[in-house]
Point group: C2
Chain length 309, copies 2
Amino acid sequence: MSEYAIGVDLGGTNLRASAIDSSGKMLERFAESSRFAGGREGLLTEMVAAIAGLREKLGAGSLAGIGVSVPGFILLKEGVIRNSNNLPFIENFPIRDEIERRLGSRVILENDANAAALGEKWMGAGQEVDDLVLLTLGTGVGGGIIANGRIIRGYLGMAGELGHVVVVPKGNPCGCGSQGCVEKHASATAATAMARLMQLGENLSSKEVFDLANRDDDVGMKARAIWTATGESIGAVLATLVNTFNFSLYLLGGGVLAAWDRFAPAMIRTVEERSATYRLSKETTRIEQAKLGGDAGLYGAAYLPMLEK
Amino acid sequence: MSEYAIGVDLGGTNLRASAIDSSGKMLERFAESSRFAGGREGLLTEMVAAIAGLREKLGAGSLAGIGVSVPGFILLKEGVIRNSNNLPFIENFPIRDEIERRLGSRVILENDANAAALGEKWMGAGQEVDDLVLLTLGTGVGGGIIANGRIIRGYLGMAGELGHVVVVPKGNPCGCGSQGCVEKHASATAATAMARLMQLGENLSSKEVFDLANRDDDVGMKARAIWTATGESIGAVLATLVNTFNFSLYLLGGGVLAAWDRFAPAMIRTVEERSATYRLSKETTRIEQAKLGGDAGLYGAAYLPMLEK
C-alpha cells in the first residue's frame, strides 16, 4: 500500500487523529470528544492510543511519520508549549518527547493554526499558491503563514501568533497578558460577549448572532453592529498583513465563518481603507474562506512529516 | 580582478552608485546630490552615466550585474514604480527596461528599504542571522523583511510596506491614501511636524528635537513627549512584527536613529505591552540599530545580482 502519515489535532475540547496518504486521501479517522477530565495523563494516554491504533491498523512499514497540532505558543526545538489558554495542564511540559517515548516514533509538533494553514495549502483553498496567510476565527484567533510552500516558524517556533496582534489599543484584556488583541474583538467568544453585553442573550453562537442580524428591529441592528465591529477588527489585521506580505491569498477559517456575509463587507472596507498595498494590488489579492473546515489541522499535521522527508 | 557588482541607490533628493566586490569591499563610489530638476529624463541620464562610468573604470568583464534601489511601491515583474511620494515623475514608467535599454545590461530593481534590509543582512548588523526585519525611519518609514537570507517580495513585489501600517486609527492622513500610517507618526517628518505644532520651532531635524529633549524646562518636556509618542508608534508596529515573525532580529535605520536614546524606552515598553510572543522570547529577540547607515541600500542593491547568480 502507499505511504501514509498520521495527523493529530489536539483542540481545546477534543482530540482527533487520522491517517492520510501522500495523495491527500483520508484513510482512517479517529475522533474523541472529551473534556480532558483526566488532565495531562489522560490526554497523553488517549493521544498515544489513537496514534498506536491507526498505526496498527495501517501498518508501521508504510508510515511516513506523525504530526501533532497543538494550541498555544510553542517552543519548537524543545517541543514544549509555553502558553496555552485552553490546555494549561500541558504548558511547560516536554509533550513531544513524552509522546515519542511512549510511541517509540519521532513526532513533529506544530501550532494548530500553522498546521491548518499548511493543510489548506496542501489540500484546501491554497493548492494553487505557494504563499498564503490563514486566520482561524474560532474560540480564539489563530494565524499561520506559508511562504514558499512552508510554514514561517520563526526563531523559537512562535511565528504566526496573529490572534494576539493588538487592534484596539487599551482594548479588552487578553489571557496572553496584552490588551485589545484581535482574538478579544473578533472571535466567536468576542461575538458571544458583545451579544451578552448588548442584551441579545447568553452564550449565543456565531451562527445565532448571525441569524439575529437578519431581523428588522433593534435586535437585528445590534447583531449587525457586532458583525461590523468584528469585520473592522479582522480587516485591521488583514490590512497590516497585506502591507507586510503582499501575498495573493488570505484565508479565513473557523466557526465565525458562519457570519461571513455579515462581517465581510466591513472587513474588506477596512482593508481597503488601511492598506495602500491592497488598493494597488486589489486584482491580485484574494481574501477568501478556507475550504477544509475542522479538518485543516489534521491535513496539515499529516503533511508535516511528508514535507520533511 | 575579482567579480564586482554595481549598486545604485535612488533617494528622494540624490543619486548614489558604487561598485562593490563579492567580499563586500566598496571599490568605487559615485554620489550626486541633486534635486532632480531635470525630471525623469535628467534622472535617467544621470543614473545611466553613473553606472556606465563605474563599469568603464572597473571593466565590463568582471561585472556580475547591476542592482537599483528605488523608493515606493514597485511592481517587480514589470519593473515599474506604482506609487512614490517623493519622485512622482518616475511613477508608472518602465524605468527598469529603460535603464536596461540605455545600458545594454540587465538591471534588477528593488524597493529601497528591501535593498537596505538585504544590505544589513549581507554586510551590516544582520550578518549572523538569516531572518530579520529592517525599519528605516527617515523622511518616511520603509520596511524590508529577510527570510532565509532572501527578501520577502510578495506577489507583485510590494511586500514590506511597513511604513504604511496603520498605528493610529483615523490618525494623520498619509500620501498613500490611508490615515494614521506609522510613517505619519514616527518619521523624521512626523517629529518635525510635532515640534512645529508644539511651537518648538520650524523645520527642526530629528537631531535638533533630540537635543531639545535634554532641556530641563517645558521645551524639554515637549521634546521628550515627541520621542515618547514616536517610540510608542514604532513599538506598535514592532509588536505586530514580533507576533507575526518571531524573528530574532529587528533593526532600525534612518535619520531618526539620532534620537534612539529618547524613543527606545517607550518603543521597548510598547513592544512588551503588546506582544506576548516578545514577552515569551525576550532573551532571543533583539531590537537594535542598523549598522550601515546611508550605505545599506548601496550594499543591498549590489548584492541583488550576486544573490541571483
